[in-house]
Symmetry: C2
Subunit: 658 residues, 2 copies
Amino acid sequence: MDEDTVEVIFQPCGRRGQVPKGSTIIEAAQLLGVGIEALCGGRHVCGKCKVRIDTGRNREYGIETKRESAGPWQTIESDHITPEERAAGCRLACIATAREDLLIYVPEESRPGKQVVSKAARPIPIDHDPAVKTYFLQLPEATLTDPIGDFERLSRALEARYALTGLSIDFLALRSLGRALRAGKWEVTVSVWMDREIIRVRPGKAGPNYGLAIDIGTTTIAAYLCDLNTMEVVATASMMNPQIQYGEDVISRINYCFDDPEGLHRMSDAVVDGLNTLIEQAVSEAARHTDRRISPADIEDVAVCGNTCMHHLLLQLDPEPLGSVPFTPANHSSLNIKAREFGLRVNPSANVYILPNIAGFVGGDNVGVILVEEPQKSEDTVLIIDIGTNGELVIGNRERMVCSTCSCATGPALEGAQIEFGVRAAPGAIERVTISPDTHEVDYKVVGRDAWLSYSKPEEMQTRGICGSAVLDTLAELFKAGIVAGSGAFIPEVETKRLRKNPDTEQKEFVLAWSAETVIGKDVVITQNDIRQIQLAKAAIYTGCKLMLRRINLQRPDRIKIAGAFGNHIDITQAMVLGLFPDCPPECVSSIGNAAGDGCRMALLDRKKRTEADRVARRVEHVELTLMEDFQENLIDAIHIPHMTDEFPHLKKKTKAG
Amino acid sequence: MDEDTVEVIFQPCGRRGQVPKGSTIIEAAQLLGVGIEALCGGRHVCGKCKVRIDTGRNREYGIETKRESAGPWQTIESDHITPEERAAGCRLACIATAREDLLIYVPEESRPGKQVVSKAARPIPIDHDPAVKTYFLQLPEATLTDPIGDFERLSRALEARYALTGLSIDFLALRSLGRALRAGKWEVTVSVWMDREIIRVRPGKAGPNYGLAIDIGTTTIAAYLCDLNTMEVVATASMMNPQIQYGEDVISRINYCFDDPEGLHRMSDAVVDGLNTLIEQAVSEAARHTDRRISPADIEDVAVCGNTCMHHLLLQLDPEPLGSVPFTPANHSSLNIKAREFGLRVNPSANVYILPNIAGFVGGDNVGVILVEEPQKSEDTVLIIDIGTNGELVIGNRERMVCSTCSCATGPALEGAQIEFGVRAAPGAIERVTISPDTHEVDYKVVGRDAWLSYSKPEEMQTRGICGSAVLDTLAELFKAGIVAGSGAFIPEVETKRLRKNPDTEQKEFVLAWSAETVIGKDVVITQNDIRQIQLAKAAIYTGCKLMLRRINLQRPDRIKIAGAFGNHIDITQAMVLGLFPDCPPECVSSIGNAAGDGCRMALLDRKKRTEADRVARRVEHVELTLMEDFQENLIDAIHIPHMTDEFPHLKKKTKAG
């Protein structure tokens, strides 16, 4: 055993191994592949990474752990760990270190759940004009009177038969050309990229070829495997972005790169590994559901979109300049990079098309949204709110388009990551809530169980926390039930045992689920602070919309589209109750799902969209909201819940009716 | 110890290791990095790879070797090994196998000597227009009012300042762009390839950048490291082509690929490793001789030429079709491939330019020769004979150009590899010979010793064999001394103890060096068979020239240029005595050294030559000599030594005078 390493065992998963002495427990977990939530990226602020050091001699593992083996207690830990928890051995995994051998228990609430990610492909009209097209050719055999080289023979035929001129050939495709020609007895199927480069030559009449559209979100990665000839989506696959272990949001990941010289490399590797897993998943799914046996080599084209930071982390471009004024990206324009350049396990000769960036925080995912929704071709003014981990806004019409990001990462609050009992949309997560205005009693539904609480025994709920779709619900219901005032404060006069003061924090909180209904052994509550977080997020979105409307001299948009994972489960009326976005007739508000992924798929299947993407990315004006002089003032005004004022006539009518 | 491996020890170098049981001794030597000559590529024909199995227990190494441990004797070995040698334990390393532990002695004559390779750069006029040019830029710093991305900021400035438009950027250059801009406080030196692609950005005003011209010969690789701004050759380096261990000539290497599925991979790796060693050598030489500290990253451009087979083996293109009718190459046109694609240790973003091929056996090296000599611009008809390992011929003028390869690998015979006592031009190799017509006595000079035999004690000569430059000399001297007839046969009437019959082979031979003068313990002779080989090679060259002249309807060329390593040391008069090439006034025959390498250097430093290279490669007509109906007849006629007939008026005059 090396003197500079110590042994660490994680429970309940039983993963064990040697780690460098002095590693934080988060680092040890990452080394051994154990999942621990680190939503703040190990910056000691989220308190989600609580673990328990189990002291004493453990006979099963033959290890002896002392309390001091995890390093000294730090005062900042008291912000998240109660004295009782501390007495029981609890520590923050981002602070405690492995000084000697450790046996560590990771409690349920600190483990990342198996995320239920649903990013199905939407039917959208797409022109069939893929970047990679295949051509079948019968070539004259090489003879002594016509001994011209293989590549020139192929080029000559492609020109004569299909009028393709001036083609180059990918280096690896050239390597396999000779064998393909001879194996096919001079009959071959040729894949040509952008009428420009031969990327693959297969013997004889070959089967279909495929393309992959990938949307790399901060939290979720979704991939659509498409038949390039029929445009059919033959498989979809999605997963958590594996970079999440290094930080929940864009800023945490930029900081991680800044703090650790290996950070960029590590995160880039993580996402590429993730993409490769996703490719395997998609191929297996296609085999299972469509009987297609697709080899990764058959995936001959890839289109990728993501926000500017995801773009940089994938391509291993230094994201540091994105993290500070003036938020400059490494590049805007789209890129074509060989799959082999970053180890993507598709056909190594495939050109990976990366959608262009608009600005430091508005990336190719937003360009994708614009490709699908086409505000630039619309007479009406369209407001598109894309709430993933960040909130991104595009507003415009055929005259003018502006975009911006919301002033704070709206996703984490609205998705639950920044609220105390926030969890991801995994089984046991509260996803719908109603609160009675009369009794102030709560009814709710959890992911993975059809029956609401009122139709269940408490112990059947197996509740773990609150997920994104219930966050807005909860606040809107609290407001409508008269428990929370327009200011966001709990109304002291309300009489229910659910509203109480937390003895440790002195903070008011409202109980959504009693301990008996949960698997975490305590009540699931929403706190005054949680409400502030939600208010801040909704104010950021509202303020962004308002200031951008002003920038293009309009009062209100004609249509509102809600994109992103969040848009899929938003209750539009509740959102309007809270004043999440400017007033608009409810019938003009719609949810468009993962529009970024759809736009990426468009760019995959219709190469004209690639030209358009660069044009659009250059044309959209980017607004840095926080630089507008009355931004703060507007943000503070928007913190309030709107009281059904005249500012929201449609909502007033609606809630009156409802 | 693995049951499937055996231990092998090579003497006198002392290299030892485990090899798979059943490996041939040649394979074992390759595995352990021990040099054994295998001129025929292990095809059991050259007999150069003689080794001695030392039987019995060796105390020093603690190994016991039995005679049968090297596998059964095969009758073909008797062609090369005398019964006495056999009794002493001699075997052919390409036949004997390692069945059990072996102690093997590699005799002096079977070891590849340290080759003296001299391929200095010739002064040739070159236009300064390199593919990679550098530009210094002072950029406006990114601010909130001008937050455009790094790449676009750079492009904008390159367009404004240097009118370069539509540039792309190499993926790795993009990765380092942000840091370079900020480290240089927005002042940078940018390297742009072909006005098209940014390949490197360095902070501030950066030092010179470099380019490398590489000529990959079948036997020798030469590299010229050039300052891209001054065009100065700052270092030259050369080495044996490491592929030589897999076969001496092109055909042996093609066969090696055919026989071993890993062969292509292995040879490609070998040459890339070799190039990387050469790059290190060149960089050290530059440091030693010019005080320049050049990092491999400073080598931003590379141009490579080689014959079609070397081209294929470098790029890992299957060479099999080159080995059989109709000798079709994978491609003709020039290629640009990123250095990182094949692991060349220069700047990984550099584009390696590969000169185009003309035909299956006439490659980019010949295109290089044409770039330098420009027959396509000449009023006169120029015949260029490039004798490296193969003989390649180009003849033409501004009207028409034809090329071909000689019908056999002329190099090995003329360079000595195919003659019994042929060795490379290493110390101890006979390089000049004179024979007295009166006494039939021999005088000679060896590489590495200034004094001729007549001025030395016999034991001072340390003779090892005959190298290329003495081969033609010897035959011409034998002919002029009346020892060999015009037919090539030894004249029986000649009385000298040097002319004798070998008792084993019943073949006549002429002693050039007595045993006492050698380090190999036996007489160095030239045999009747050796003379046949030389005659065949010279006939092949002469016939090629003659048939190509006929093809363009000319009697004789206006000028003859001899290129290649062989050209450097050829004695033009002796070559004319033997009838190596068509008659021409001696003052119109010149040696042009490594013209292929010079042409490659031109393409490196003047990008217009790259366009011209493709044009020339398409324009030259390739003639397959062996398909001409009277080829055999002509070849047989040319076997004879010309007897100073009217066919060679210039020679007649010359030898009369001399």
